[in-house]
Symmetry: C2
Subunit: 348 residues, 2 copies
């Protein structure tokens, strides 16, 4: 129905509208883009685009703006990723270079991305559900306090302070540590959690602990909590102030957006449900996010490889965002991040 040139007109409308934030008319298009046809011709194409609901006019006889469906077509068929400038590549490198554990790297990643795009940047932690436990460590702090540490192969370290109320001698401590080790080490987090739960349900029977029964239970409980925390995915975010940078970006209030950012869980679900193309890129546009209360926003994301388990890095912004730039940015950052983590992994 819509001609090839019609699609080019759609592209022009999206580009100009994102640029100027004003409805774009037929005359503006022939001026800014060398179509080689007159404004009247463009108008005919625009009428078709409007029939297809790819663009809409805010008021009769005003310029047109893309609909969410229009943005979708633009992203799927028309957007050519805008390659990053050398300066931008250098910026990513300088942000991400340097030592640091997983937390550090992800924080720097999210900062780089927000700086690059001017949007809210989001990085998912590599999924811990598939991660396996590599270490369980117990450190006695005195005064009946015990520090319980769990480490996974994805590089994440979790520590928890718990009050056990008694002192252990080294032998007992070593025994409990060993017991936890055989139950957990080398197993996926999910499975470990299951085994721990079994242990808690059938108390004492399995472990003929001479003493310290209550205290041991307390330690096991702490480990279980840490594993549970691993199981839940996690986000790092930055740049939420960018939502308020331009008044007109969001028609309504930015309240739901800020709330989603603070809640995290909404964004986690949203990021999880997005469907990536063969390049690992994905976008969720405007009303497509209505179910999450984010009907005025878009998310653009790219998969990255966090030591074997897939996760996403993305940006959140107004529906009327610069998709080519943002797509290119998330892809570049995701690739860089994947490389960082691989390299880090090989040094283990």
């Amino acid at each position: 129905m819509v001609s090839e040139r019609g699609l080019q007109v759609l592209r022009a409308i999206v580009q100009d509208y994102v640029d100027t934030r004003e409805p774009v008319g037929s005359k503006a298009i022939v001026e800014r883009h060398a179509f080689g046809v007159s404004a009247a011709t463009i108008r005919n194409d625009m009428a078709l685009l409007e029939d297809e609901e790819l663009i809409a006019a805010p008021h009769t006889s005003s310029g047109r703006i893309p609909t969410d469906k229009g943005y979708r077509v633009f992203v799927d068929h028309l957007a050519e990723l805008r390659p990053l400038s050398p300066a931008q590549r250098a910026a990513i490198a300088s942000f991400l270079e340097g030592p640091g554990d997983l937390d550090d790297v992800l924080v720097r990643t999210v900062r780089a991305l927000t700086q690059l795009t001017g949007q809210v940047a989001i990085v998912q932690y590599p999924s811990f559900a598939r991660a396996t436990v590599t270490h369980v460590e117990l450190v006695q702090l005195g005064g009946g306090r015990m520090l319980v540490i769990v480490v996974t192969d994805t590089g994440r370290v979790s520590q928890r302070l718990t009050f056990v109320g008694e002192e252990f001698d080294d032998a007992d401590l070593a025994r409990i540590r060993a017991e936890l080790g055989t139950v957990l080490v080398g197993r996926p987090v999910r499975e470990g959690l299951q085994r721990i739960a079994d242990r808690l349900d059938a108390p004492a029977a399995q472990t003929p602990a001479p003493a310290h029964e209550r205290a041991t239970d307390e330690i096991v409980r702490a480990v279980a909590e840490e594993l549970e925390e691993f199981r839940q995915d996690k986000l790092v975010m930055a740049g939420s102030a960018n939502l308020a940078r331009r008044e007109a970006d969001f028609r309504g209030s930015i309240y739901p957006l800020l709330e989603a950012i603070e809640e995290q869980v909404t964004l986690l679900r949203l990021m999880g449900e997005m469907v990536a193309d063969e390049q690992g890129l994905s976008a969720s546009i405007g009303r497509e996010n209505d179910a999450f209360g984010l009907g005025e926003a878009s998310v653009v994301a790219s998969d990255y490889d966090g030591t074997g388990s897939l996760a996403r890095v993305g940006v959140l912004g107004p529906t009327r965002m610069d998709y080519p730039t943002n797509l290119a940015a998330v892809r570049a950052v995701a690739r860089y991040l994947t490389r960082m983590l691989e390299q880090d992994d090989s040094s283990r």
Copy 2:
């Protein structure tokens, strides 16, 4: 200059303005507050208040709104803290009750406070500058990775993963651990940091390490980084979405506020510079925060006792906020928090 009744008029204006968000006129005052005098009399008082720059008229012949100076007088002399309802006290208790380490408690505190006030809630970590180190622990993870853990008496645990590139046998590890222990344990963080710095400046000479020289340096460096992190104060915040709840709360953009929240360091400085009264309460109002770029906002805070070292808990909101309620809320939460931490401390 300003009569006693004049001050009551100021109080009425502040209350009504916070309530209605509209300039309040002389007639509205006699209607809502039983002053027993006529509107004309109130007008005379208002003229005096205006001379003192405690109130101002947005336009000639419109109602008056309090100036920042007016809010200041209100807070210092006129505000009676609005006692919390039993339901609110119960809410605080239910939020804060339950086990958990310092991080948990502070997170729950900040949630309770934002829920109570509908503002952005801020909790300072107990100052670590004066905290003393109680434990240093090294855990070998294999593959040349080492987990370095530092614990202070304020209950804070910091862990850092570093790559040392070689394996230690138990004896060497114990030796290094003991060395770090004698240098750091029982000393304030600041002093420990100094001694560590000395150690790094005069390498090898002091420690006749048979091998592992580089690796040991790496460990010491990690410890230094952790101590440095302790030295910096830290905030927990919640409720930033509340800034966007009411459109008209902030005349300009909320961008600088969101930025300050993300930066943290600005808010840390601001919270640090506030001067508390004999009850431990403090407020910084409107333009008083100009230096921090927060001229349209107010902060209300209360000191609390975090195991011997003072810190603050507060809320951030529009200058036109409900001071009596917020003051009462931060005080109640601060007291509850102090009690929680004392109790926790005694159980060590």
